[in-house]
Symmetry: C2
Subunit: 324 residues, 2 copies
DNA sequence: TCAGGTATCGATACCGGTATCGATACCGGT
DNA sequence: ACCGGTATCGATACCGGTATCGATACCTGA
């Protein structure tokens, strides 16, 4: 007992004993047991993190934000990957909950009823991330993908784009990419327009796929002046294809990605994109949990919106690309 | 007690009772408590994963391999990020160990003595990943980065490259990139050569940085015929720079990346690279742990080498690039 | 000198499961 | 009818910590 107190720096132990215990612990290589420690409390100091996937750069940035914010705290992330499958999501969440985590970070809003139920029953702080469109249980950090699509469309309409196509990679039920498309289309409709061409592929996005889809789109519809992509990497792939073919981007054709990841800087200014603060989403979500798990005001649910910043680059002036 | 048996499908419970218990559990929304369950056993069904970072695509691929292999098992990853800091690594590992994980996956070989000690004391299966060069405690999955560098150098020498430069982003003590450089240089020395030019930057690699470093390198040493980069993204950045400047890659200048990530396909055939199976490293490591944690032959330590595949693309023929 | 307070420490119960073992009921064979 | 075996289930101890409370020693002021 005294040993336990000494090791965790609790009250009621003399300085001398603390030293003795610490030395003894070091000598025998004592490691402690979070399991036992957590069992006495109502919950552990684990933080559950549920993401659809990790290969996707988007989520690895978010994850990095989370681990960064959790870095020097007593909290540690456990995590599960859903692959956009709702049944698997339910299982993963239930599994994590049985570790009695101090808090949870779950990707997406509008969760299925059964998933909602166990999360509510757990009675721990919950932050849903990425998306503010759907139904939120407790707190949320992200932005409206519908609005992000809408805003980008408006920006493009404003600089005179009219014949706009859409190229998308939407895996399973990645609702966020779909919502951007919906929002974009809403703006188009308000201007009495619609996508002049649409190419969809239910596959994981990649540069190579971007090249392929671009080729298809150009065959179907050679007179587009702008294309809205679901992600940066397919937009970049398309740009590379255009560069090879001598199609001037953005003066003849404006390409618009999403997220503002590193690859969108491959040819500075050539791609337009919505720059999102993905690491920020992770850190903000983790910070909310930290506040709720350690602080007092544990009943306040928060709503943090990190609106994407639209970057049109050279697409604004539309001048033919010149190299300095 | 009977309830516990029923829920986990153990022996000695009648079919009728199992049904009754399951229904009751569903009704009251029973969730279970892994903490208590694990406390009775010598270790939990957590798998500790220690990585330097997650923003880096390299590690997010590895992580994805791990979660994929662990997907439908009872095991769950907890994890920690070291940011290439050995003190932090020690703390992270110690912290994870006190969850009594069933096994550990740790990035890198040749760990510091104190870290080694606690890992050995834990007496659980351990897989070190990424690197087979250094000292291994138990099992290892990866390849020799020294040899990877050496092999690539030999391949380049074989196709006649002589004036070879080096452009590197080596953060903190990322020893693996450094080892590739050493191996590459060993091959050069065997041919009585050395890097004709060297540009280093202690920063996280990115496309933009690749552009910048390429520009610097070309100023310092305009007559290079080949450049070895530490990663794909700076190589890709360099390629983009060359394309803008009208420098023909690879006919005038061969650019060589590492990993064979998506971005190396931005202009197919234009970049040479060593294609590594990062997801494979993750899955193989996880599979070893699964075997060791569930199976019988729990004393066999394994050594799985996933040699990178050298892809020279158009750099082989060296013909001026033509578009089809 | 003694009562009351404080500093320090150990004994005990408990967290929520599981392993173990004993108790009970029921079965078939002789 | 009786016995040994099996199916089913509950009581108990225990995993390794921590909260609580009581015990002891020592200190301070009256």
């Amino acid at each position: 007992m005294t040993a336990s107190r000494a090791l965790r720096g609790a009250q009621d132990v003399s300085q001398a004993t603390v030293l003795k215990v610490n030395n003894a612990a070091k000598e025998i290589g004592y490691v402690g047991n979070h399991l036992a420690a957590s069992l006495t409390k109502t919950n552990s100091n684990l933080i559950g993190v549920v993401l659809p996937n990790l290969t996707n750069v988007v989520f690895s940035h978010v994850m990095n934000g989370i681990t960064e914010a959790l870095g020097n705290t007593i909290f540690q992330p456990v995590f599960g990957v859903t692959e956009w499958d709702e049944d698997r999501e339910y299982e993963v969440i239930k599994n994590i909950l049985s570790w009695r985590p101090a808090g949870m970070i779950v990707t997406g809003t509008g969760l299925p009823a059964s998933t909602r139920l166990i999360l509510e029953r757990a009675n721990i702080p919950l932050v849903q991330i990425m998306d503010t469109d759907g139904e939120v249980i407790d707190s949320v950090v992200g932005f409206s993908h519908e609005k992000a699509g809408y805003d980008m469309a408006q920006a493009l309409l404003k600089i005179g784009k009219r014949r706009i196509g859409f190229i998308g990679c939407i895996v399973n039920n990645d609702r966020r990419a779909a919502k951007r498309r919906v929002g974009f289309r809403r703006a188009l409709k308000e201007a009495n327009l619609d996508f002049c061409c649409e190419v969809n592929e239910a596959a994981v996005s990649s540069v190579s796929l971007g090249r392929k889809l671009m080729q298809e789109a150009l065959q179907d519809c050679p007179d587009m002046e702008c294309i809205y992509f679901t992600n940066d990497d397919i937009a970049a792939g398309a740009l590379f294809y255009c560069i090879e073919r001598g199609i001037d981007v953005p003066s003849r054709l404006t390409l618009v990605g999403f997220n503002g990841m590193d690859i969108s800087n491959s040819f500075p200014g050539r791609l337009a994109t919505s720059v999102t603060d993905l690491t920020g989403i992770g850190t903000e979500a983790a910070k909310i949990l930290l506040k709720r798990c350690t602080g007092e005001k544990s009943e306040v649910s928060e709503r943090i919106v990190l609106e994407p910043r639209i970057e049109l680059g050279n697409s604004v002036s539309n001048a033919p690309t010149e190299y300095d």
